[in-house]
């Protein structure tokens, strides 16, 4: 699986939605249930999946799927 597919799987697990499809320009507004609790869960799941840690404000700055994918590609174990 490439980063995008892995990320999609993380989102599907967090939101219990096997049909979820990610696009780069998606934000929390595009995914029902992406509130502050889900955001924390997402960040945690991404860290666990890609063996990386967000630093400082990165936890808050991950606004679009593209942001997340770019950062994970740069720093995660992929």
């Amino acid at each position: 699986m490439n980063v995008h597919q892995q990320l999609e799987q993380v989102f599907r697990d967090v939101f219990n939605d096997d049909a979820l499809v990610l696009r780069h320009d998606m934000t929390s507004d595009d995914i029902p249930g992406w509130d502050s609790i889900a955001h924390i869960n997402l960040m945690f799941a991404i860290e666990a999946t890609f063996g990386m840690q967000f630093i400082g404000n990165e936890l808050a700055e991950m606004k679009t799927i593209g942001d997340v994918e770019a950062l994970v590609s740069r720093r995660g174990e992929v």
Partner: protein, 675 residues
């Protein structure tokens, strides 16, 4: 051999995934169950796969059963969260499985949204349908002291004081450690008394996990003046004060168990006020619900033990008294240690029973004659050794002891016997021992359902006594009312016009504050900058600090002067300081500013949203009068000439004027409250 089994399970599981994707739910379920049958311990992804597939089919009972199984599949936070979301609403779905309903209120000083979500899942493992009420974080004192608070209105059976080390008002080095510790202890016990006065709920206090960082190094351990030593004293004295009346979750022990460098994750603290690493919330949820279950009388009462290769090494019927391993060598010592641990469980009230496939007389011999046996025949309340199937014998044991099957825990080294009990008697909990006897004690100690509420029966008489006593000792309480609390906090607020330093935090608060927000107008940075240059605009932010902590920049107002009227465009406060009377101070400051400008009337607006019901009565409470009927928002007016200025004696207000105060970024980022 083992890896072949694992591979086969993985293949079956992957087949299930494919079948589910193609819409073949029955096929997927069959494949998943096939995979589960091949594994010694079912994995969390498999449980979730089954739960989702059953849910898609509308088979709620099985969906919930498998979602709940995630609890036994390890402490994987992500899997727990997914399972918790699946069982939300389980109360209606599976009433049959529920042994008890209970309500718990979380009175917290850290973000508990995640713990709140996980608790019902962990509770389901005990057969408890748990409703969780969650307070605004940081507001626990107000909630507990105010008998009319929403916390008490939720009619909780339990109130969990979810607090942590940072809450302790202890200096790094104290000039008078005895006094500091005593004051800190009474601060917490006074909250227990407040609960006893307002409700019959049982308090569960989290004690304080000592931090991973030690500025004093090893010196801290031998200086009673150190925060490190004082925190230990606070824990110890709170424990003594709690006695049988108040429950405790020993977070200091749990944090040590997993390691403090992992228990604390400062990133998530700074980001969203998580006092405990997310990865350990399943552990906390399991322990907390075990404590609740014990208080509800739902803990397990009886340990049913196999004999051969469980209480000694070898087979007594073949190896004989001198051949079995008990004491002596390393293996024998491991079995002795296990017996010793079982005795400790008996000491606290766990009933012991034997269920063994043996001849009765031979099975009794080691307990009567072996020199290294720790357990004696009279330690067992029931002793069944015969050649009949174990499920039938276990039913007999339950009947003879007059306890129900769901009070039993069966321990065996033999996987086949364990499986037979699981299938025949699902109410009985089964502990399957690992291959290495030196790991038996740990295995049993990690089983949480022998948690004990108290060592003497806490009957109604005792509870009544406690409540009477707590009423009589009102004098020793440090804060009896919310006003006394406010007084004791020695709060100071600082109001200042917006400036470059504070602008980022101001824009952030405007962007995300939902609850204490009268109009929810989401002005952007450019707009706010324009306001700052508008001579008709009155704008200020407030910081709040008290004797314990500096809360930072937590509130703001934007108003526009229209002749003799001042229109309050935006008024909001961070949820971390709700219930501190800061709103009164803010409006008091607005009165002062209005007077300076020759304004005679304040006009406030309330625009209801799904999230700001908290402030629906605010203007009425402050003495504003309703004017006109808007469709989307209400208008309220306050006549300064007639009603005079509003004041708040509980908070000292400093006005910073143009003096630039250093803006603190502390607490910026996502706040713990759900916004």
């Amino acid at each position: 051999m083992e890896s072949t089994v694992t591979d086969a399970a993985a293949t079956a599981s992957a087949r299930g995934d494919q079948q589910k994707k193609s819409g073949d739910l029955d096929g997927a379920i069959a494949s998943y169950l096939d995979a589960a049958a091949q594994l010694e311990r079912v994995t969390a992804p498999l449980c979730l796969g089954l739960a989702r597939a059953y849910l898609a089919k509308g088979n709620y009972a099985e969906a919930i059963r498998w979602a709940a199984s995630v609890v036994d599949a390890g402490d994987d936070y992500g899997a727990w969260m997914s399972a918790a979301a699946l069982i939300a609403g389980a109360g209606q779905w599976n009433a049959a499985r529920v042994r008890r309903r209970a309500r718990v209120a979380l009175a917290a000083s850290f973000t508990t949204s995640q713990l709140r979500a996980l608790l019902p899942l962990a509770a389901l493992r005990h057969g408890i349908d748990l409703q969780v009420w969650e307070g605004q974080f940081g507001q626990y004192r107000q909630d507990l002291l105010d008998g009319t608070s929403a916390l008490y209105q939720s009619a909780p059976d339990f109130i969990v004081l979810a607090v942590h080390e940072r809450d302790l008002a202890l200096p790094a080095l104290s000039g008078d450690p005895e006094a500091d510790v005593a004051r800190e202890v009474s601060r917490w016990t006074s909250l227990w008394y407040a609960v006893a006065r307002h409700s019959a709920a049982r308090v569960i206090q989290m004690n304080f996990a000592l931090t991973a960082e030690a500025p004093l190094g090893h010196l801290g351990a031998r200086l009673r003046e150190s925060r490190y030593a004082m925190t230990q004293m606070v824990n110890s004295r709170l424990g003594m004060a709690a006695g049988n009346r108040v429950g405790m979750l020993d977070c200091e022990r749990l944090s040590s168990l997993v390691g403090k460098s992992r228990w604390f994750d400062s990133r998530y603290w700074h980001f969203s006020r998580q006092a405990i690493s997310l990865q350990f919330l399943p552990l906390v949820a399991r322990h907390l619900t075990a404590v609740l279950a014990a208080d509800l009388g739902l803990n397990r009462k009886c340990l049913v033990l196999d004999l051969d290769n469980t209480l000694w090494g070898g087979v007594i019927g073949e190896d004989g008294l001198s051949g079995i391993k008990l004491g002596g060598d390393a293996t024998g010592e491991a079995f002795s240690a296990f017996q010793e641990y079982i005795l400790r469980l008996k000491d606290k009230g766990v009933i012991l029973a034997v269920c063994s496939k043996n001849d009765d007389a031979i099975a009794r011999e080691p307990f009567e004659r072996h020199p290294d046996t720790k357990l004696r025949l009279d330690d067992f309340a029931a002793f069944v050794a015969n050649w009949e199937p174990k499920p039938a014998n276990i039913e007999r044991i339950a009947k003879s002891l007059n306890i129900s099957l769901d009070a039993l825990v069966f321990v065996d080294d033999n996987p086949a016997e364990c499986e037979a009990i699981r299938r025949a008697l699902p109410e009985v909990d089964v502990i399957e021992l690992p291959a290495d006897p030196s790991a038996f004690v740990r295995e049993l100690s990690e089983y949480l359902m022998f948690e004990t509420s108290s060592l003497t029966d806490e009957d109604l008489h005792r509870t009544a006594q406690y409540r009477a006593r707590s009423a009589a000792s009102a004098a020793e309480q440090t804060a009896a009312s919310i006003e006394e609390l406010w007084d004791s906090l020695k709060m100071t607020a600082t109001a200042a016009p917006f400036d470059e330093m504070t602008l980022p935090r101001i824009v952030q608060l405007i962007g995300k504050t939902n609850q204490f927000n009268l109009t929810t107008r989401r002005h952007g940075r450019a707009q706010v900058e324009a306001f700052m240059n508008d001579p008709e605009c009155v704008h200020f932010s407030v910081r709040l600090s008290d004797r314990y902590t500096d809360h930072g920049l937590v509130g703001l107002m934007i108003a526009f002067q229209r002749g003799s009227v001042l229109d309050i465009d935006t008024w909001l406060m961070s949820c971390r300081v709700i219930g501190r009377s800061l709103e009164n101070t803010m409006v008091a400051h607005l009165c002062d500013v209005a007077a300076q400008r020759g304004v005679t009337t304040l006009r406030g607006f309330f625009a209801p949203t799904p999230k700001n019901a908290l402030v629906s009565g605010l203007f009425a409470r402050l003495g504003f009068a309703r004017v006109g009927e808007g469709d989307a928002s209400e208008a309220w007016e306050y006549d300064l000439a007639v009603s005079g200025s509003i004041e708040n004696r509980f908070i000292t207000l400093n006005v910073a004027g143009d003096r630039r105060e250093r803006a603190s970024a502390a607490g910026a980022g996502l706040q713990g409250c759900v916004q």
